[in-house]
């Protein structure tokens, strides 16, 4: 067993400074507290002027294991000279490659008199991949795009690609793409709230969503086929046996009809407890993991 795992931590601290020329009046301070297997880090931003300093950013995620490896990224400037500041951290892990990530986005004004505005913060699990490449962030002047590998509804599928694209022009909106292939969209539809899925769903699927949705849904794929008689439609079957904390006595068998609209846009067209006509055959979810480079993410229309 590695030495660090046996060490309960809480015997050391650290302090690191970051400064970026694009934000000349801001100093980012990263204090760290030694915990088991690593270091839990907070991030504080201080704005300096002739009168002294003021703490304008306080970013720390409470957890029992800690989040460290803090990284900062600054977007290009928008038309008003403002930039987005991304603060990201990864969970402290002793051995597992299943990790957690935290991210926070602040809008930084072009002048030092205007304090940063917190736009978004969140936590997400991810699998770090074979080459520590299971999570990437793409930051644009008005957007954050997160691409990651995370667990599937079907435990027999080791991981799937997720994409979360947030636009900050008018509030905070999750925009397309929300998935890169049809069965990943089906999983996204099951595990994300109706407020996110409504614009990507036929109205008559709402009652099914209310019945099937939870942050955690587990089951297994029963069929994934491109419908021969319905152009651009995929029939995706699941046996679902856990919805949230509700372990079902009998799995619910459902079939989701996903329409591929192109450009990584999808729509949930129908949900049924029986197979759709025009979608014969049997198939399994692809074991390929579509993956966009950071440059491709930034170039998304």
């Amino acid at each position: 067993m590695p030495l660090d795992f046996e060490d309960p931590g809480f015997d050391s601290v650290s302090v690191a400074l970051s400064w970026k020329p694009e934000l000349p009046d801001v100093l980012l301070v990263t204090p760290g507290v030694g915990v088991r297997c690593g270091e839990d880090q907070a991030v504080y931003g201080y704005q300096f002027d002739a009168n002294g300093w003021a703490r304008v950013i306080s970013d720390h995620t409470a957890s029992d294991f800690g989040y460290g490896w803090a990284r900062f990224e600054l977007s290009d400037a928008d038309g008003h000279g403002r930039r987005l500041l991304l603060i990201q951290r990864a969970s402290v892990q002793c051995e597992s490659t299943w990790m957690g990530a935290t991210y926070s986005v602040f809008r930084m004004a072009s002048d030092s008199a205007t304090p940063p505005v917190s736009l978004l913060s969140g936590e997400h699990g991810f699998w770090m991949g074979n080459d520590d490449d299971g999570l990437v962030f793409a930051l644009k002047p008005d957007e954050l795009i997160i691409e990651l590998l995370d667990s599937s509804v079907d435990s027999g599928v080791h991981n799937r690609t997720q994409i979360h694209r947030y636009n900050f022009v008018d509030g905070v909106k999750r925009i397309d793409p929300v998935a890169l292939q049809p069965h990943d969209f089906a999983e996204e539809w099951l595990t994300r709230p109706w407020s996110e899925m409504q614009s990507r769903s036929a109205p008559n699927t709402q009652k099914w969503h209310a019945k099937l949705h939870a942050d955690l849904v587990l089951g297994e794929y029963t069929n994934v086929v491109l419908c021969a008689a319905k152009p651009d439609r995929w029939s995706i079957g699941f046996d679902i046996d856990l919805i949230g904390e509700n372990r079902l006595k009998e799995p619910i068998g459902v079939h989701l009809l996903v329409r591929d609209l192109g450009n990584y846009r999808f729509e949930m067209e129908a949900v049924s407890d029986s197979e759709f006509e025009g979608c014969p055959g049997e198939g399994a979810p692809s074991d390929k993991h579509p993956w966009l480079s950071v440059e491709q993410l930034k170039a998304l229309p």
């Binding site: 650290s14 690191a16 074979n130 993956w291």
Partner: protein, 135 residues
């Protein structure tokens, strides 16, 4: 008279910094003791019941938060007034902070920065084309 006031202010600041550093050390020690004690208790419970007790959830987070609060107080007592952010970054402020922590015996040890990361099964990750309006 002015010199006396300046001396008193400086002495007060140093005293405040020392007190904050002492509090930080104490918070670390308390957190470590509690963590060790909680782990022993949990281990005993697990051996008895075969299940890791859930009662401990959130307690480590509270311990971490308390140390962060003490650390933040100490840092902010040392942040210079009347200097620019760039000047502080390019100065020896960061090194001085580390020296103080090292002298107090609580500086980060480099071994912590080496995180064990186990590799596991491979996957097939494929590049895809950027969507275009004509897709």
């Amino acid at each position: 008279m002015r010199r006396a006031i300046a001396f008193l202010l400086a002495a007060g600041t140093v005293f405040g910094q020392d007190a904050a550093l002492a509090r930080l050390k104490q918070e670390l020690k308390t957190a470590r003791d509690q963590e060790i004690s909680a782990e022993r208790k949990a281990q005993a419970e697990k051996e008895k019941t075969g299940v890791w007790p859930e009662a401990e959830q959130g307690l480590s987070a509270a311990r971490i938060a308390r140390v962060h609060t003490a650390l933040l107080s100490w840092i902010e007592l040392q942040l210079p007034m009347g200097r620019s952010a760039a000047a502080i970054k390019s100065s020896d402020w960061e090194a001085a902070i580390h020296s103080q922590l090292a002298a107090a015996g609580i500086a980060e040890k480099s071994r912590r920065l080496r995180q064990t990361r186990r590799k596991c099964r491979s996957i097939s990750k494929i590049p895809v084309l950027i969507p275009s309006a004509s897709h």
